[in-house]
């Protein structure tokens, strides 16, 4: 399953958003969003609730159709394709192999009644893996990688803690070695100490695997730890964007300054 990375493609954008907008009747959820994401790059989308960041994530991952604008993705063959032009079969295949989606609530991204091993192995079986032993071994090694005790491989995530479930969800997404992972508040709802450990794990995995990622979060600390670039959203628009350290250390926009200064001192 190891896909050799094409160095010649690393300077070509992986995902391109052009003038994206989404309206619901008279309500504008987001508009005028344009950016390009490169391989191995992590982009954080920060904002408070109602900023439009979650809607944007749905648009970028082709789960919602835009009211205006376009999202394009560079497939493994190097061709940049408009997501709206993909057939349903292609889109579903993309979702199962080249992409990952980590939900805020892990129960949404897992089969809660099925064992951890089957959860991790499902994508492999979906692409034709047919050897129980090999599927199980691969699942085991991924559990180790996300720091879940391998003895729990036959337990259902119903018996896992919140932090473990989230790590399992990550393993389930990464097993097919995707090139792009979408994350929606991946540490939301977890205890602070658990969050820290999870963020550390995610940062290591992302850099080891050379993943590109788009992380939606209201927590600037998450953005700081995980991302290279950050986009700040307010009222459905991107009000500031740039390298994470620059934006967080030297925010230009008043709203960004407000966000940064609101972080409670450690």
């Amino acid at each position: 399953m190891v896909e050799s990375k094409n160095p010649a493609q690393d300077d070509q954008p992986l995902l391109v958003a052009e003038n994206l907008a989404k309206n619901y009747g008279r309500l504008t959820a987001c508009r005028d969003v344009s950016f390009a994401l490169y391989p191995s790059e992590v982009l954080a989308v920060v904002g408070e609730s109602g900023s439009g960041k979650s809607t944007l994530l749905q648009l970028l991952s082709a789960q919602l159709a835009p009211s205006a604008g376009r999202v394009s993705y560079r497939m493994r063959d190097g061709v940049l394709r408009d997501l709206a032009a993909l057939g349903e079969a292609e889109r579903r295949f993309l979702f199962r192999t080249d992409w990952g989606f980590v939900h805020q609530d892990p129960a949404q991204g897992l089969r809660m009644a099925v064992s951890a091993g089957a959860n991790v192995g499902e994508r492999l079986m979906a692409v034709g893996w047919n050897h129980y032993g090999r599927i199980r071994d691969t699942a085991s090694s991924w559990l180790e990688r996300v720091e879940i005790d391998v003895d729990r491989i036959d337990d259902a995530p119903r018996t896992y803690s919140g932090g473990m479930r989230q790590r399992l969800q990550i393993a389930r997404n990464l097993v097919t070695e995707p090139r792009l992972v979408f994350m929606d508040e991946p540490t939301g709802g977890l205890d602070v100490s658990v969050q820290a450990r999870l963020l550390d794990l995610m940062r290591n995995l992302v850099s080891e695997l050379g993943l590109a990622a788009i992380v939606v979060t209201h927590d600037l600390a998450v953005a700081r730890l995980l991302s290279h670039r950050v986009m700040v959203m307010k009222g459905g628009r991107v009000i500031e964007t740039g390298l994470t350290d620059q934006v967080l250390d030297d925010p230009r926009e008043p709203y960004t300054q407000l966000l940064v200064s609101s972080i409670l001192p450690a």
């Binding site: 079969a89 579903r92 089957a118 994508r123 979906a126 047919n130 129980y132 599927i135």
Partner: protein, 294 residues
């Protein structure tokens, strides 16, 4: 009062045409479930209306019909269906697998190999192999269309993780013509290999769920498994107590209330034919000479 008059084999010609169109489509796409407008029949849904509609649509005056349930011609529902066609079609009926042109069956495939020109009609309760993993019809339709059968393998994986074996003993899912995953109806997995490369035409009718599917003659039918946990047939390890067969599926008969048990061929025609040819088992009537088992 409006007194009804019935057509040959009960169904009116228009209905038969509609069912035949569905059958043709099913044959053209082996293993794919074709929706059809199942009619209200004089027997309840769940009691073979799908099989009866398929048989009624294909039956001609020259056909010879055999009807079995649990492998036997003499079980109550098999009798009831055979009488129904006797009354509404007047076709010749038989208990002999070899002599039949159309065989309607519930839960078994006959032991005697079928030949070209025969049609086996299966009664199917739940046609959708993914139904118990995914209850929504809209979702399973999509999974079949896109060939997304990962969920099926998840179930098999879970079985092995929990029991050490695939824990499906009947209605064991198969892949037809290397494309569609199909439920063979609640036949014991013992019967699965008989569907592969079979010279006869196999038709499946689900009346209540309103689906028809088919396996044309000489189509590949492979039972799902893992390379390292291959499909195995299960059969109780004993010969038939009446005819001595060691290769047929056996019924367990409780003979007394102290745990007494006996194993006898489920396929009554097969067993009786073997006995007529002189084969004997441990519980047979007359003393006999041991004959080589065929």
């Amino acid at each position: 009062m409006n007194a009804p008059a019935y057509n040959f084999a009960y169904l009116d010609e228009q209905t038969k045409r509609m069912i035949r169109r569905a059958i043709l489509k099913a044959i053209a796409i082996p293993g794919y479930q074709v929706p059809f407008a199942s009619r209200e029949m004089p027997m309840p849904y769940g009691w073979g209306t799908g099989g009866v509609q398929v048989t009624a649509a294909i039956l001609g005056p020259e056909d010879v019909l055999k009807v079995i349930d649990q492998g036997s011609d003499d079980t109550t529902n098999a009798i009831s269906i055979r009488k129904f066609f006797g009354k509404t079609a007047g076709v010749a009926t038989t208990t002999s697998t070899a002599d039949a042109t159309v065989i309607q069956t519930r839960h078994r495939i006959p032991e005697a190999p079928l030949h070209g020109g025969q049609i086996l009609v299966y009664q199917v309760p739940i046609p959708e192999p993914l139904r118990f993993l995914e209850p929504r019809e809209t979702e399973t339709r999509r999974m079949h269309a896109l060939g997304e059968y990962g969920l099926m393998h998840v179930k098999l994986y879970e079985d092995i993780a929990r029991f050490g074996h695939i824990a499906t003993s009947y209605a064991y899912p198969v892949k037809v013509n290397a494309r569609y995953v199909m439920d063979p109806s609640p036949t014991p997995k013992f019967d699965n290999p008989k569907m592969d490369n079979c010279p006869a035409l196999q038709l499946f009718g689900a009346g209540r769920e309103k689906r028809i599917y088919a396996i044309p003659p000489h189509t590949t039918v492979v039972s799902l498994d893992f390379e390292d946990h291959p499909f195995t047939r299960y059969r109780f390890d004993a010969p038939c107590a009446l005819c001595g067969a060691d290769d047929s599926y056996l019924d367990e008969i409780v003979t007394d209330d102290k745990g007494g048990r006996m194993f006898v061929c489920s396929d009554t025609d097969y067993c009786e034919s073997r006995q007529a040819a002189g084969h004997r088992g441990s519980e047979s009537v007359a003393p006999h000479k041991e004959r080589a088992h065929g």
